[in-house]
Symmetry: C2
Subunit: 391 residues, 2 copies
């Protein structure tokens, strides 16, 4: 087991009706002026917009609103949020929505105490030293941002999308009622299923020489639960227990638990950020579903061990099956699963053209400045090869 | 899945050499005057006593010491600690040791801001509203107190032992270097293995009608990892990865993770507190190993489902095996495992006599005031029956 730091300070209120505690929860922290941040119409349809207003008013908590967050949240709206928060002397941001809203809130929180654009945090030129606290009401099971330290923002001036991690970015509290995800569309649900699994898969399918059965069993167990629940919710969208499994798995999959004591680099996630940074119509989960099997095919040739572990521990394959065969089984299983749940598995399905692939590889390498090494080294050439396999 | 609150604010520094960060970690929180709390000679033999002194001095952190914590930590020493902490204006307690030292530190932290005995917290007459922060260097993998909200203290005036839970009691940080557990005796190691497993077993083998595959796979995966690592460390006490598995499992098993979305009552733990409250020579883990199979035998007659789940998910039993048979297999497996790792499995092995059993049952019920219902209702009569089976 490798050394690690585990830090999950976010207090989770999970289950039916927990949103009705919002006012009391905010009051318990003593926050006085809230920026209520959200996306478009979804939370209004859910009745959640009205409930938040009612909860804040019932506890006499002052607030201002900023809606309009889009998928792949944009720097321009973040900057608007920072201006508003500064003007209104906000002391806490309430993000109501999915990963995009939470990430937008994190970027506003990071930019509140500084005089420069929060994009400098995204590109690693500066590090946040003090940020506004964030609270969350989660409405989509996917990104895991509700407990994570990460924040992905698209710079819509430069067509660049970057993720960065900072422990200060972990929300103070998160309210999760799985019923709010009943109305998430089948396509967004499948994107979420893939994103959840990938957060754990990219952590656990890494560093083949690290002995760590505890994190293995936890992580592969989580993947097994998500594979099962994913099939259930697509047939039965209001199945509470399956929706709850996806929602709690989304948090556990990205809060650090499934990577404890294992080195990992998340290269597929980084490639996907380049894809959806250039092509706004690519949902993160769908992008991952195209890239992971391609990466896995290459990586398993170098070392099939971890892919075989997926087969043995999540997919019910006997440990007597030879490692190479088990690894192939696992990769084929995942590809078939993605097809079965109806998510695009080829980049061309998004209208991406073959001549676009070098641009994606270039953005992935930060224009020649970065490579990522995990089971395999992913440099410009390997990235291009993976994109071609995924095309 | 049942509603739950998940709250694990303790920051974990896990792995080799992490103890050398102690001074910097304490400094980062700004604590000025520390109560350095520990047991007897173990931490001196490990060189940890000298290291702590060196770390505190190197960062100019003022401190006072209080050693002498015994197994089943005593109220009299807690009271001494509170007096000392008040006199010296302590602002943080550093507990260096195992569960007993941490629990003693928690009770001191709870008593610091009040004018009454912290025993009033143990018996539920008062609730702590403000406590001193605690940091931990862990040297024994067992109790899980390093991340938990619970605190078990023995009232040595009244021969009573009580556990109580309070979210304020979760340590602020915990440093865990598995190498410090290399020298833990085989007997204490086996007690730890049982304690770790029981914290998860008592959470996951409960509420048969709750559908919760995610927590199931995580919890049964943890048990599988502990069963494997337990056998390894008893043959090879300096096996780092197996010691690391036990240490991280000790925290995850009692920080709340393995009970998320599942109702549980920990009745076996409560019966064991009565046993070791009356018989100081009974180690908590050993007491659990005598009681759990006896409780399981009775409870599985009422509902074998959860015991069968243990067989299917941790013990490699095919799901085609009938539930009753699988449940019996699981209970017999656990009893054999305890025998194999050399832990007492009968109460009489501790010198307890048959006529002592009613006294234990009486203490378990708080002299007729309490029963606990989980898969079965454990009242005085059922407790006595379990004690007789365990005798």
């Amino acid at each position: 087991m490798e050394n690690f730091i585990y830090n999950t300070p976010t207090k989770v209120y999970f289950g039916k009706g927990t949103e009705k505690e919002l006012g009391k929860i905010i009051k318990s922290y003593g926050y006085k002026k809230i920026l209520f941040h959200y996306g478009k119409s979804a939370i209004k349809k859910l009745g959640l917009y009205d409930l938040v207003i009612k909860e804040l008013k019932s506890e006499n908590i002052d607030f201002v609103e900023l809606g309009g967050v889009e998928a792949n949240p944009k720097l321009t709206l973040v900057e608007k949020g920072i201006q508003l928060a500064k003007k209104e002397n906000i002391d806490m941001i309430l993000a109501v929505g999915g990963g995009s809203v939470i990430d937008s809130a994190k970027a506003i929180a990071d930019g509140y105490y500084v005089d420069h654009s929060p994009w400098l945090f995204s590109i690693g030129e500066k590090k946040p030293e003090k940020v506004l606290p964030i609270g969350v009401i989660l409405t989509i099971s996917a990104a895991g941002s509700e407990m994570s330290n990460s924040c992905v923002i698209t710079n819509d001036y430069e067509n660049d999308k970057r993720g960065f991690s900072c422990e200060l970015n972990r929300p103070v509290f998160t309210i999760m009622n799985p019923e709010f995800t009943y109305s998430v569309s089948p396509f967004q649900t499948t994107c979420g299923i893939v994103d959840i699994m990938m957060h754990t898969l990219e952590r656990v399918i890494a560093s083949p020489n690290v002995v760590n059965p505890l994190t293995d069993y936890i992580s592969f167990g989580l993947i097994k639960a998500v594979l099962e629940a994913g099939k259930i919710v697509l047939k039965d969208p209001t199945n509470y227990d399956a929706r709850a499994t996806l929602m709690w798995a989304s948090s556990l999959s990205h809060n650090g638990l499934t990577g404890c004591g294992r080195n990992y680099m998340m290269s597929v996630h980084q490639m996907e950020h380049a894809v959806s940074g250039l092509f706004d119509n690519v949902s993160h989960g769908a992008g991952l579903a195209t890239l992971w099997p391609a990466w896995a095919k290459l990586a398993s040739k170098t070392d099939p061990t971890r892919f075989a572990a997926l087969a043995y521990n999540s997919l019910g394959i006997s440990s007597e099956v030879e490692i190479g065969d088990a690894a192939n089984y696992a990769i084929n299983y995942m590809r078939s699963y993605f097809e079965e749940i109806g998510i695009p598995t080829k980049l061309r399905e998004f209208g991406i053209k073959k001549e676009d692939l070098p641009k994606i590889a270039d953005l992935y390498t930060f224009h020649g400045k970065r490579t990522i090494e995990d089971i395999i080294l992913v440099d410009y050439d390997t990235c291009l090869k993976i994109l071609e396999l995924a095309f």
